[in-house]
Symmetry: C2
Subunit: 134 residues, 2 copies
Amino acid sequence: MHSKRNFSAKREAIYETLSSTNIHPSAEWVYEKLKTELPGLSLGTVYRNLSVFKEMGLAKSIGVINGQERFDAVMTPHPHFICRKCYRIMDVPKGYNIIERSVYGNVERECDATIEMHSITFYGLCRSCSEEEP
Amino acid sequence: MHSKRNFSAKREAIYETLSSTNIHPSAEWVYEKLKTELPGLSLGTVYRNLSVFKEMGLAKSIGVINGQERFDAVMTPHPHFICRKCYRIMDVPKGYNIIERSVYGNVERECDATIEMHSITFYGLCRSCSEEEP
DNA sequence: AATATAAATAGTAATTGTTACTGATTTGAT
DNA sequence: ATCAAATCAGTAACAATTACTATTTATATT
C-alpha cells in the first residue's frame, strides 16, 4: 500500500524482514536473517533502524525476553503469549486485549497517573516445549 | 510470621530490603540501600540472592525496565503501572488482574500452548511526570 | 570444644546485549 | 553532475549481569 517510503535499501530490507515474520525477532535475528542477502550489513545498522522504526511508530518493543529485546511491526494492540522455556512469542488475537471499561479510570485514580495504554501477556509452555517436559 | 528462615544475615537483609519497599527495585537499588548498613556487601551477592529468591518463589521479576531488571516480593498476582518517563513502577490492586473466564482456554487453543499465568501492565505518565510535560 | 563439610561471600574478571563514535559511502535535491 | 544531509560499516565503549576463585562463615559430627 504505502511501499514507497523513501527508505534506504537497507532500512527497507530491515523493515521488510521485521514485518514479514511473526516471531517477534531480536536485532540479532534480523541481522542473521539478512546478512546472506546483504553481506555488507552491520549489526549496528539493524539496532539503529529498529530504533528509528520505534520513533516513527512503525514498530514497538515487546520487551526484553531472555536478555534480548524483541520487536513487533504489528502496531494494533494485542496480547502475546511467551513460552517460559523457549521464549517463543506468539500473537494473541486483539479481541483478547480487552480491559473492562471503567478500569482505566479506576487505575488512574489508584495510581494517581494518566494511563495511555496497557499490555496483556500470557505465559506458559508452548506445545513443543510441553512435549519434552520431564 | 515466618521470620526464621535460616537465611544468612546478608540474605535476610536483602530480602528485608526488597520486601519492605513498594518501588520494585533493581539489584543496584537494593545494593545502594544496604551498603551503608552493611559496608562489606557486594553487588554480586545482591544479584545472586535475588536469583535465589526467584528460585524459592519468594520474589519475581517485573521485567527489564529501562535496562534494569526490577523485582517484587509481593507474590500475589497483580498488575503494575509503569511511568514511561521516570520508570516508576506502581502496584495496581489485584482486583484488576481479572482476565475473563474462558479466555485462558481460548488463548490455549489459539496458541496451541498451556497458559500458566498472565500479566497486565498499564503504561502512562505518573502525576509528577505529567506536571512537568512540555 | 575441635574438626570436617558445605554454603555463602567479596572482589574481580568475563560476558553479553546495546549504544556511541568516526570516517567513508550513499542518497536526494538542486 | 554536484553537494549537503542522511546513512552506513566497523570498531570501541558501555552498562547490566554472570561467572569465577579464593576466603570466610555457618552447620554438622564427633
